[in-house]
Symmetry: C2
Subunit: 142 residues, 2 copies
């Protein structure tokens, strides 16, 4: 697993309010299917419903469940690489909370949690450009 | 505020266990004062006591307090720029949970939370190299 983060997803309770907040800070968002993508240099910050994010990570949602409302993602170049990273993580003691499988957006991804329950999605997403240098670029979603 | 993340700090309960986990994934950590820094491409992942991280963010710690056990940081080039970003965030509705002040490591930083309580530290840290492209590099801490 290369040492890098591709996306940071912040679970939010009011998407429009959160988008407005980050845009007031000078960031630029693109919204697709109730999800806002903000390019942040070589990575992407995503705003998404906290409940949907928990469900997507295979974690219980709500106060006191251990879910912190945030998820990291690490994008790779092929489905086989997703499987390889998931296996490495499991061997290192990670809990696999969502086994790797085809995703609704046409990619392939799985989720594990680290020893403190921080979720990592390992994803192959053919729709987002993963550069040679590991940078991830949101396409024009308009 | 430039759209970028400089550091992602993961609150952990057992630093040695977490460091071993990330090193088994192929990452490389440097430990200083019970804090582990892992270079992750153009940004830095930090492993630090969850309780200390909450305290440092000016947030209550523990299950059900709303603290998710993770903090984002955005490094800037001067103390004046810290003040400017903190003011922009406050004007956008952020809660200032730790007003900007000199830090124990010789820098200057403050913390705000976004509308969902996600903490952001805005920091000027003269000890870490902030590149022209916004990348942050951990120096050799040995």
């Amino acid at each position: 697993m290369e040492p890098r983060i591709s996306l940071v997803t912040l679970g939010v309770s009011d998407l429009a309010r959160s988008r407005a907040f980050y845009e007031q800070l000078g960031w630029h968002g693109q919204e697709v299917q109730e999800t806002v993508f903000l390019q942040a240099g070589p990575l992407v910050v995503v705003l998404w419903s906290r409940a949907d994010l928990a469900r997507d990570c295979g974690l219980p949602e709500g106060e006191g469940t251990g879910f912190g409302g945030i998820a990291l993602a690490h994008n790779v170049r092929s489905p086989a690489e997703v499987d390889a990273v998931m296996e490495t993580a499991a061997a290192a003691g990670a809990a696999v909370t969502r086994p790797a499988a085809t995703t609704f957006y046409g990619g392939y991804a799985g989720v594990f949690t680290d020893p403190d329950g921080h979720p990592w999605e390992i994803a192959h997403n053919p729709g987002f450009v993963l550069g040679e240098d590991g940078s991830l670029t949101v396409p024009d979603l308009g």
